[in-house]
Amino acid sequence: MRKLKRNDGKRTWSPREKQANRDGLLFALPWILGFLIFSLYPIIMSAYYSFTNFSAIKDPVWVGLKNYRMLMKDRLFWKSLNNTLVYVAISVPATIILSLLLAALLKAVKRGKAFYRSVFFLPSIFPVVASTMIWLLVLDPISGYLNRFLSLFGTPAINWLGDPTWTKPALVIMTCWGVGTTVVILLASMGDVPPELYESASMDGAGAWTKFWHITIPGIAHVLVYQIVLAIINGFQYFTQVYILCSAQSGNLSAGVGAGKKNSLLMYPLYLFQNAFARLKMGTASAMAWILFIIVFVLTLVLIRISDKYVDVK
């Protein structure tokens, strides 16, 4: 047998390598099993469900492409996809730029760094239920703290969560409050940029902006790309905040469907969740999940391709 294998042109493994193969597999086994059970199996099943008519209690019945065809005709599907795309398009640049700004400021601060860092990090570990309810207080159109603050500058009151044109910016503001993790990570990676680069730039008379743009950004580019990818993935999964906002806004937990004025808070995952657990259309929901998966996958690949061109990965 052994000989046969060798003749097949496969490479020979020395006993040490064989031992390594075995040990490596053994140590990685938990994840491999976990992947098979908690990722691969559900992915395959959700693909199967997406071709069936399926509620949690009744068994799935094969319906072919019906779920996908129905979705293409479903206004709310397009509305929710549009909502999520708009949200991602605003929130990703906004959070990344803000995180860069905060990280750069933190880097420049000499005293009390730990304190400031904690302040910016704290909101990101805040329980979402609590923070969303607080934001309802802050964003109230009449008595909210934010409008009250803006009125100091003569800005007319904005109906953040009640006017469809403002709901996405309102959500982005809420997201911006939770950028702590990104800030801390960017800050750490800024610390890795060799100080000599800054020194020589200073000698050439470069200003703070030039240094930031030509030294810091390229220095942390690989981290930045990773953070952007994460931000996109998280953006497409944005769910809990809108779920709670809608329950609280309707003042009625029984309102299982619908989301904000003119469905302006109906994010894609929320619509998916409603289809699965309020309308019990699990087949439709699975089809939605797969469409989302493909969108995220393609976007991420494109982004990585582009960044490979421009960013020198280490």
Binding site: I142, N252, S254, A255, G258, K261
Partner: protein, 428 residues
């Protein structure tokens, strides 16, 4: 190094905590098992009410447990409908739970609620005789009965006496036309901000259903929905002109803000900023507690209707899930709480309107709340209209709410109705 020790000490503390928590869980699990092992059979009852309302339900459960010795009902406050449903579909949901009439078609279709017909027949009950007219409609789907109603909620008109007086009125509106006229007269706007809302736009439900039904219109029947009906058209056209008069931004801000604060201490009516309000019986106690000088009246109908009055009826109900492990016990408790002593307790404690005919004339019930003069009269005298009992009932509700919202946002009534009718045509 010292820091590392501190860290592992902290970690150990966290783990210890969780182990302790785990062990209390174990003892808890053991105690529930003991309960089940006793002489009485356990009936798990989940209800959507929370806070004070939950304590009323617990009183009813205690009374039931004391009234017989066969079953032990164990109550759980689970204030999220979707959680109840996921629990049921996960196979370890309750034996009995409450919901709203509009959910029944979906629950019947998806095999979530169990048909009660065998039990009904066995016990020789004729629900139409027992429950208030119209309340059984929502509990039946395709000729099978899936639930019994616990409360039959209709609406009434609350008005702020002080605000009406300041506006030159000494009585609530007698007709819908008058209500609409008063709405404008009683609205004040300062610096682009509504400081007093005359129209009953908060909460964003009830008023438009009632206004639609006020000339005898309905939203049709399953299979023949009528979104574009005379009443809805009148309601939205009035709303359109009202919004035009005071500005969409101002009205919308007031409604959004009011909606987030609904029934809290800063509720616009309770804080004296809303002159007219269409709401259910639970609102009466809140209004009383707030100290607002208010009155309560029957809902007016359009002048063309003469003495006829209409009201929007919605039921809450109890049903037994198909996955119930003790349906017999659940049925026994269901009878107690919808038809027996529990029904009276429910109504008098919680302040809901009875769905049980015998309670309409019950002196204890009538005395339970000063609001019942009006509400019970509405329940027995008005033509009660329900929303169409369709599978996608909640989607229909959202569609219509969206139509109302789009007019509040400055859209035209025509477009809103057109869009709603288009959307509704795709509903089952």
């Amino acid at each position: 190094m010292k820091g590392k020790k501190a860290f592992s000490a902290g970690l150990t503390a966290v783990l210890m905590c969780s182990m302790m928590a785990g062990s209390t869980n174990m003892t808890y699990a053991a105690s529930t098992e003991k309960e089940q092992a006793g002489d009485r059979e356990t009936v798990n009852f989940w209800y959507l009410w929370g806070g004070d309302e939950a304590s009323y339900i617990e009183q009813i459960i205690d009374a039931y447990n004391a009234s017989q010795d066969k079953y032990q009902v164990v109550g759980l406050s689970t204030p999220d409908q979707q959680k109840v449903i996921t629990g049921i579909s996960g196979g370890n949901g309750p034996d009995i739970t409450d919901d709203f009439g509009t959910s029944i078609p979906n629950y019947a279709e998806q095999n979530i609620a169990m048909p009660l017909d065998d039990y009904i027949e066995k016990d020789g009950i004729n629900p139409e005789d027992v429950f208030v007219d119209g309340t059984m409609d929502e509990q039946v789907y395709q000729d099978k009965t899936y639930a019994f109603p616990i409360s039959a909620n209709v609406d009434a008109l609350y008005y702020n006496k002080d605000l009406l007086k300041a506006g030159g009125y000494d009585a609530p509106p007698k007709t819908m036309e008058e209500l609409q006229e008063m709405s404008s007269k009683l609205t004040t706007v300062e610096d682009g901000e509504v400081t007093q809302l005359g129209a009953p736009l908060v909460p964003n439900s009830y008023w438009w259903e009632c206004m639609t039904f006020a000339d005898g219109s309905t939203f049709g029947t399953p299979g023949a929905l009528e979104i574009d009906n005379e009443g809805f058209r009148k309601a939205l056209s009035w709303l359109e002109s009202y919004v035009k008069e005071f500005g969409s931004d101002a009205v919308n801000s007031f409604v959004t803000s009011g909606q987030a604060k609904v029934n809290s201490a800063q509720d616009p009516f309770l804080s004296g900023k809303e002159a007219l309000r269409i709401d259910g019986p639970w609102f009466y106690k809140m209004a009383e507690d707030s100290g607002v000088n208010f009155g309560l009246a029957m809902l007016p109908s359009y002048e063309s209707e003469g003495d006829k009055t209409y009201n929007y009826i919605a039921t809450s109900n109890f049903y037994i899930p198909t996955t119930a492990s003790n349906p017999d016990g659940a049925w026994d408790f269901l009878k107690y709480i919808t038809m027996g002593d529990g029904a009276k307790m429910f109504v008098t404690l919680k302040g809901d309107l009875p769905a049980l005919k015998s309670l309409l004339k019950d002196q204890d019930v009538i005395k339970a709340s000063a609001s019942y003069d009006v509400y019970l009269k509405a329940l027995s005298e008005s033509s009660l209209v329900a929303m169409p009992n369709i599978l996608d009932g909640s989607d229909l509700d959202v569609t219509l709410t969206n139509a109302v919202d789009s007019v509040v946002l400055g859209g035209s009534a025509d477009d809103a109705i057109q869009e709603a009718a288009d959307t509704a045509s795709g509903l089952e």
